[in-house]
């Protein structure tokens, strides 16, 4: 939970930044923390995937810029003919000379998004997303269980596709492409459906969805709170976004709506008798982690108010970006959890299972 808040802080911090120095610093911070504090769980290795995704985004952004972007600024890097479009598509320039300023701008924009994704990836590899779902309030815990089940279905699905593909070879059928789809899909779907039904029945008999007896008045109150909260939130958001509405429609309505919704969730959760086994503790280290993430966000926001230009990069004419020290310090503070939080627990003891070879029967 703390890692997710930390990551959100870092992501918020970079969301307004196109200064490559700051972006790369944030990326290094995320990578450093992941490398020093990730556990031994299977999802701990997912950070690399997010980095690849980030790189892909930068590339796509650059390619899009070359194709349809507005070309401006400085020297011509790549001379290309401009394709003129018919009048109904006026304003869109296809191809055209690629200039340095525009290209750098596009790449830094892509980099910003990539770094934000890397932050989320960092949180994902630092903390089990399933544990995050366990901290949901009572009223939402059943949705949480459903999500957990959905997540675990994906690898099973891949396994059964693999099994059916192999079984097809036994019938001498190795055709690929469209013709093969129903032959694989049908057994896989049947298999998945069977498993889901078995799981649902198992969960049912283990008490999933049990409710405490709740009085009628209490139920009505819960419904009123939830509905009223949603309504007030809608009005509030409208008020905040539209400057012409009277003042009461803005923040006050929004906070009333959020308050009512929270009350509704709390009341609804009371009807759910569920408890949590060994909930994740919230101690000093968790506070520290969240504080470091928040510090980064606050520092960058402060710089944005005072010296917004230093967070960007001068594109026309192209220049070396400034180095706002306060923002840099804020981002570096976010790296502190890598040294100050306790290291993750060692791999869980597997007992006999670890020394045993994998069940080869299942994956022949």
């Amino acid at each position: 939970m703390a890692w997710w808040l930390w990551a959100i802080g870092l992501a918020v911090a970079v969301s307004n930044v196109t200064n490559p120095f700051l972006l790369l610093t944030a990326l290094c911070v995320a990578a450093l923390v992941v490398l020093s504090r990730r556990g031994s769980s299977p999802w701990a290795g997912s950070f690399r995937l997010y980095l690849w995704l980030g790189g892909f985004i930068v590339l796509v952004r650059a390619v899009l810029h070359v194709l349809v972007g507005l070309k401006f600024g400085g020297a011509v890097v790549l001379p290309l003919p401009e394709v003129s479009l018919p009048s109904w598509a006026a304003g869109i320039n296809l191809l055209g000379d690629v200039r340095l300023g525009g290209l750098v701008g596009a790449v830094t924009e892509g980099l910003r998004l990539a770094v934000m994704i890397a932050c989320i990836g960092a949180a994902n590899s630092l903390a089990n997303p399933k544990r995050l779902l366990r901290t949901l309030p009572g009223a939402l815990s059943e949705i949480g269980s459903a999500v957990v089940v959905t997540i675990s279905v994906a690898p099973q699905l891949a396994e059964s596709v693999q099994r059916v593909m192999r079984a097809r070879a036994l019938r001498g059928d190795t055709s690929r492409g469209i013709r093969a789809v129903p032959r694989v899909a049908l057994p896989v779907l049947e298999d998945t459906l069977d498993r889901s039904l078995m799981l649902a029945s198992a969960m049912d008999s283990r008490g999933y969805g049990r409710r405490r007896e709740v009085g009628g008045a209490r139920r009505a109150l819960t419904a009123a709170c939830t509905l009223g909260g949603l309504l007030a939130s809608a009005v509030g958001i409208y008020g905040v976004l539209d400057a012409t509405t009277p003042g009461w429609m803005g923040l006050p309505a929004l906070s009333l709506g959020i308050g009512l919704s929270l009350a509704g969730i709390w009341l609804g959760g009371a009807a759910n008798a569920r408890s949590t086994y060994r909930p994740d503790p919230w101690r000093g280290a968790e506070w520290l982690t969240v504080a470091c993430g928040a510090a980064a966000a606050v520092a960058v926001q402060f710089v944005r108010r005072t010296d917004a230009a230093s967070l960007g990069i001068p594109l026309d004419p192209l220049g070396v970006p400034a180095l706002p020290l306060l923002a840099l310090a804020g981002l570096l503070v976010a790296a502190l959890p890598a040294f100050l939080t306790p290291p993750p627990p060692p791999p869980s003891p597997r007992g006999a299972a670890a020394s045993r070879p994998l069940p080869a029967e299942v994956h022949p």
């Binding site: 089940v149 192999r166 029945s201 086994y277 080869a360």
Partner: protein, 539 residues
């Protein structure tokens, strides 16, 4: 205490009720064994006790089911969660979380127990089941027996008064099954839990049962003393069959009791039933087969020679490499190194099976995989047969006539999913036999088959080898091996540890010895038929 009062269950679209007018009474702390043919309604009966019928499955339930005073009409399965624990056939399919400790706690979380109670009960349950060293392990990495014990543990933590198990050992090797059954009997004796268990391989549980519930034809259920009910039941393990034939009174249910009664037989001349026919020519020769899955060596330099006219049983623990070996020999599975050659009569003429393409390969070596239904993807049996004829290049009707030999009377327009386990296996077997491979491999075909189904499979396999084919069956079922196999290959940790005639390999091993061998040792008899032949006239 579980009371069923004139319960009938019927499902829409079925001409007759699955259960008819069932009245049962199971006392506290009893182990009740539910037996019956495949598809007779055992699972429906268990479902009625847990509330799944009709809350989860639909259908109509007449009469009343009361579990410790709670009527399932007013209580859904989730409302019985603190009273009834349910364990299914496939433990992995019922797991909600992904580590042992979390799984044990899940049921308690749903009931809203306090944090300290949960901690205490998780520890207690880990000890009761002897899985304390697995607490942090990922559920998917456990062996089958361990998984099943965790599944039992995960329902025990809520301290249920009733435990309902639907074929808990059907997927396990003999040793894993022993572990699970030992756990179950211990629960009955120490914790006074009422246990209701349905089981195909009755011989494993029969001796521990306090009461026997027999689900017969047309949904007629009888309950009574195990020895009484077994006298007339339409499913019977070898020990009971032997007792019935010998006319023993009361009917012995355990090897120990039967062994006392069989004492006079031990001095008889052995007179083996059949002279072992000289094995035919070598059909397939696999040399130094090695299969690895990532870093794990599943099969290590195994040599296998398959001869015509021979049924070979492949045995060994879960994870010993049996499936990997079969897939490698067939040629579709991965193989790190080694050769698999098909011999054609004269020794000089060989085919490298692994070099062929899939369509050509299945004419040499056929494989029926563990989940046989994966091979079927069309919506009627008739369409599957036509497809099999065309993909094997045989004349139309070949597959259908093969199927009629194996399991007569399956209508063409039936959906493969609506078939019974045995019928579906017959369809897959017919599809694979359409290509007429000289070597046929079957991976765990006896799962979910009752004694009659196994008998039909055995007859089909014997007919094949009589025509000069070679058959390999991987199985955990020692009784099936005793009755059908000529030769047994035992694998452990990827290596062949024993290879020889069935009688030699099986009798010597404590885990793999069939009941008849245990009862009559040191005589070399394996099956009731062997005894019938040798003893002639029961005393």
């Amino acid at each position: 205490m579980i009371e069923l009062d004139r319960v009938s269950v019927s499902f829409e679209g079925e001409s007759e009720p699955v259960l008819r007018d069932v009245s049962l009474r199971l006392e506290e702390g009893e182990l009740a064994l539910v037996v019956g043919r495949t598809g007779s309604g055992k699972s429906t009966l268990l479902g009625a006790i847990t509330g799944h019928v009709p809350h989860f499955t639909g259908g109509t339930l007449a009469g009343s089911v009361r579990v410790f005073g709670r009527d399932t009409r007013e209580h859904r399965p989730r409302d019985l969660a603190d009273l009834v624990g349910v364990v299914g056939q496939d433990p992995l399919a019922g797991f909600v979380t992904d580590t042992v400790e979390e799984e044990l706690a899940y049921g308690m979380e749903q009931l809203g127990l306090g944090a300290s109670t949960m901690r205490k009960r998780v520890e207690e349950t880990l000890d009761v089941l002897g899985i304390a060293d697995l607490r942090g392990a990922a559920l998917r990495e456990l062996s089958g027996g361990q998984q099943q014990r965790v599944a039992i543990g995960s329902v025990l933590t809520t301290h249920p008064k009733v435990l309902v198990l639907d074929e808990p050992t059907s997927a396990l090797d003999p040793t894993g099954a022993e572990d699970v059954l030992a756990t179950i009997t211990r629960l009955v004796h120490d914790l006074a839990v009422t246990v209701v268990v349905a089981e195909h391989r009755i011989e494993r549980v029969l001796q521990y049962a306090d009461t026997l519930v027999h689900v017969g034809a047309h949904g007629v259920v009888t309950q009574g003393d195990p020895a009484e009910v077994m006298r007339t039941a339409d499913v019977a393990p070898p020990v009971v069959e032997l007792g019935r034939w010998a006319g023993w009174e009361p009917l012995p249910l355990s090897v120990r009791d039967a062994r006392r009664r069989a004492a006079p037989w031990r001095s008889l001349p052995a007179s083996p039933r059949e002279v072992v026919a000289a094995p035919g020519p070598v059909l397939l020769d696999a040399r130094r087969v090695t299969v690895t899955h990532d870093a794990v060596v599943a099969v290590a330099e195994v040599d296998v020679t398959l001869r015509a006219g021979e049924v070979t049983a492949l045995m060994g623990r879960n994870g010993a490499g049996k499936s990997s070996l079969l897939w490698a020999v067939q040629g579709s599975g991965p193989m790190r190194s080694g050769t698999v050659r098909r011999r054609h009569g004269s020794s000089s003429d060989e085919t490298d099976v692994r070099a062929l393409d899939a369509a050509e390969r299945r004419r040499h070596v056929g494989l029926v995989p563990q989940s046989a239904a994966d091979l079927l993807y069309l919506d009627t049996v008739g369409a599957e047969c036509t497809q099999a004829d065309s993909e094997s290049g045989r004349e139309p009707g070949t597959c259908r006539s093969l199927l009629d030999d194996l399991a007569p009377g399956i209508p063409d327009d039936r959906h493969p999913r609506d078939l019974s386990e045995g019928q579906r296996l017959a369809v897959v077997l017919a599809v694979q036999l359409t290509a007429d491979p000289p070597v046929l491999l079957l991976d765990e075909p006896t799962r979910g088959l009752d004694y009659a189904g196994k008998g039909a499979l055995r007859a089909a396999l014997r007919r094949l080898v009589a025509r000069g084919r070679s058959v390999v069956v991987s199985t955990h079922d020692v009784e099936f091996v005793a009755e059908s196999a000529d030769r047994v290959v035992v694998m452990a940790a990827g290596e062949v540890v024993a290879d020889g005639p069935t009688a030699d390999v099986v009798v010597a091993s404590p885990a793999f010895a069939p009941q008849v061998a245990k009862i009559t040792s040191p005589q070399p008899w394996l099956t009731v038929d062997d005894v019938r032949y040798a003893v002639r006239e029961p005393s």
